[in-house]
Symmetry: C2
Subunit: 319 residues, 2 copies
């Protein structure tokens, strides 16, 4: 397997490599990141791994790397994936999701390379969903309500054109909110965890945590379970299919916050920052994972409490 | 009215300016095209018209022109709009529809300019439609099956984000197959017309015309009716709404071809060129124009025979 992974310096890629490093497989891995420096140097000595720094918006650079490496598998993790950020920089969010994906798959098409592609999408694609459709199946109509979500739906539509029009081997996910150790604090759970660990460390009197809308309900899944799903899909997923990757359970952000406070044994004041409230948002997103469970026997193995605890621990050691 | 028109050197823009030149309105028009030279010099002396050459993919150039001109109305006609071309150059088709639109409207958002935007979409967005949904209403689900169609759906999704998330004044069309004098022969009707006029002129023995799949049924509308709809929508359309612009009648390409031969009084051999047959296509697209008719009293005024005859006449004088 010649595996190309984009977004290699990111949170999900780290966990995916960790999973690969315990498998006994012959793999050539080319990891692509935007920084000149790779975050992962020497962390996975058992993997046959090369790093290249490329801006995936640079079509010529992408073409060159595809023609030279000729991947048999592509795990496309690179993304500007913050929904909040996409409202401030809609254009950046769009091109850094849609155009980078197009640059990759179009070169694979042009070169006629036989390559299985895993296109990562998001539960945000479902947007505002009627309650009758919760938990959300893959057949639920897409109704994106953020710039980020629109980019992901576009990516999925593009995938379908390349599958049905050009016969390419693409599998798509709609990955629900995943979190865990190492996630940046621009994402909500990590932001909570970091703020709360700071409060717990300081023993200060200022016990306030800044949040947006914490009534929204989301389906949280541990990143270490998510990467197992990606591995199974690359191996045994069905070409042209789209899979929910989710826990099937919904929790409000408030519940997560309370759970974290309990684990840290602290009390906090909650401060709402209106700048963190989005122009338009989905009150509830909870998925149905029956399809990937039935086809690939995937099921989330790490429960929410464990994920939260591990995330807090990571911040305790990395503040 | 400070009117910005993109794609000013194109076929539709010419007819739109012709319509404007018979209205008695105070207008400042800035026309944007990609060529250094404007096609329209001195053709519309009554219009207060300036030309600028800009590549709309160049974000900085777009930002500058928007901040300087500060349009009150934007008619966005620029597009790489050939479905056939999009199958050969999917990436070019995507960015030259989606990214150029984003560059324009994002700068209008950033500058906070009060501007009504007409976003031109396509009947291709409907894709393969169940027969029960013919004639197609605006509420019909979108199922795009070509790279071009995906770009148009993305553009519409982006519009909806800017309307619902940022409160912008955008109106969207789904314009069905329009044709008429001056259309380039990369589009099917003009291609037929040009080939047939050449045959009629030559009186040669080689009476063969090259076509793709001529069994597909489309809803053809005269470009001069289409621009009247655009004018009405810019004036009186409802913010956030999407309108079909169509005749409501379906004809196969074969019927159009036969009609043209009758008008030219010639007989031809039909040669199928497989390169012109698309990887995936919609057998029938016929629209319902009730919404724009009821709201804006628009109705197509030029019948198919007249449109065909005028198109043939144009080629007779412009081969």
């Amino acid at each position: 397997m010649k595996l190309l992974i984009t977004g290699i310096n990111g949170f999900v890629a780290f966990h995916f490599l960790e999973l690969l490093s315990i498998k006994n497989e012959k793999l050539d891995i080319l990891g692509i990141g935007r920084s000149t420096q790779c975050n992962l140097d020497n962390q996975f000595p058992k993997l046959n791994f090369i790093y290249k720094s490329i801006d995936l918006l640079n079509k010529d650079a992408v073409s060159l790397v595809i023609s030279e490496f000729r991947p048999t598998h592509l795990l496309h993790l690179a993304s500007v994936s913050s929904v909040g950020h996409s409202w401030h920089y809609p254009q950046e969010s769009f091109v850094n999701n849609t155009n980078i994906f197009l640059n990759l798959i179009d070169q694979i098409r042009i070169e006629g390379i036989k390559c299985r592609i895993l296109s990562i999408g998001s539960s945000e694609e479902y947007g505002i969903v009627d309650e009758i459709n919760i938990p959300i199946k893959e057949s639920c109509p897409l109704n994106p309500v953020s710039p980020y979500a629109v980019a992901r739906v576009s990516q999925e539509m593009i995938s379908n054109i390349y599958i049905n029009g050009y016969g390419m081997d693409i599998i798509m996910t709609r990955s629900f909110n995943h979190f865990g150790p190492r996630q940046k604090d621009i994402f909500v759970i990590s932001s909570f965890a970091k703020q709360l660990v700071e409060i717990a460390n300081k023993n200060s009197t200022n016990h306030s945590v800044t949040v947006g809308n914490i009534d929204i309900i989301r389906d949280f899944v541990d990143v270490r379970d998510v990467v197992k799903a990606y591995y199974l899909l690359l191996k045994n997923g069905k070409k042209g299919e789209t899979y929910n990757i989710c826990s099937g359970k919904g929790f409000s952000l408030k519940e997560i916050l309370i759970k974290m406070c309990e684990l840290l044994n602290i009390e906090v004041d909650i401060k709402i920052n209106n700048a963190l409230i989005r122009p338009n948002d989905n009150p509830i997103i909870v998925g149905d994972n029956k399809k990937i469970h039935d086809e690939l026997l995937w099921t989330p193995e790490i429960n929410l409490e464990q994920s939260i605890s591990d995330t807090l621990d990571w911040w305790k050691h990395n503040l």
